[in-house]
């Protein structure tokens, strides 16, 4: 019985995230996973290419604390991201929204791939016209022309 109680206590142990020495205890593992995911997906504005989980900049710590606070208040992931974007701008998102001004970002890989394929197709098509074997009609015409030339030279 005692052993079972210990097992139960182990299962009930509160979920906890630790980043850069700061402890973020959660009531359940689901919220803790959301916190860890948000800290991965949000970008530190000070250190440019680190996310909130990696960065030890003071502002990243403040932002992590805010994310934790908002999650504890029962806010959704979108609300948390929206809160930070409203203050720091789209820069804090590693996954920028598709909008008119981000179209270049999202469309350029597809456009470049398309251009590359087009280029390959054009170059191959061009090669084909040079080396292609004659079709039966063309061979027939060639034979006809040869025959006519021979006739003419015979005269």
């Amino acid at each position: 019985m005692m052993r079972f109680t210990w097992l139960l206590l182990l299962v009930c142990a509160p979920a906890m995230a630790v980043i850069d020495g700061h402890k973020y205890p959660f009531d359940n593992a689901e919220d803790q996973a959301r916190f860890a995911q948000l800290a991965e997906d949000l970008r530190c504005p000070k250190c440019q290419n680190q996310n909130l989980a990696d960065s030890n900049a003071p502002v990243a710590a403040d932002m992590r604390d805010k994310v934790y606070e908002l999650l504890q208040d029962g806010k959704s992931d979108d609300e948390v991201v929206g809160y930070l974007v409203a203050r720091y701008g789209d820069f804090v998102r590693y996954n920028p929204p598709v909008r008119l001004d981000t179209l270049l970002l999202w469309a350029s890989p597809v456009v470049l791939l398309g251009l590359g394929l087009l280029l390959i197709a054009l170059l191959r098509g061009q090669q084909g016209t040079v080396n292609k074997a004659l079709s039966p009609e063309e061979q027939a015409r060639l034979a006809e022309i040869k025959a006519r030339l021979e006739q003419e030279s015979d005269k």
Partner: protein, 173 residues
Amino acid sequence: MNRALLFIPLVIFALMGVVFWIGLGIEDKTSLPSPLINKPFPDFELGVVEDGRTLTTADLKGQPALVNVWATWCPTCKAEHAFLNTLAAQGVRIIGINYKDDLAKAKDWLAAYGNPYAYNLSDPDGMLGLELGVYGAPETFLIDADGIIRAKHIGDLNPRVWSTLGQTFEALK
């Protein structure tokens, strides 16, 4: 026509070169555009460094001002301080936010280097800073008489920066 196709990679390369050249030319890559431009100054209720009275967002209204985020741990803030004194002497209203700082150190600083600020809001835990999207002191906001944020400058204020920012400020009057 067919041979011309072979030059497509060269053209793409040249275009990329132009884009990267422009990218290299951007003077300050660490300066991010603020989404708070043309938005009201965020709500706050904070103590004043100088005398401890409590002020709110409503107290910012009435006339255009610079809101300067600074701290004693910030070397660039020290570098820009003399220029802030100059601006204050010219009659520019400057409101300070003492960001994540120690109150006693802030008072010592103002006593030692002069106080160009109408008053300083004490933001020891950086909560107003977070509302303002502050990520590196010094940062300076331009607010109009209605308390709307009209511009933001990241980094120190100096005569070169002020030559353009000052015009924006004059236009708010």
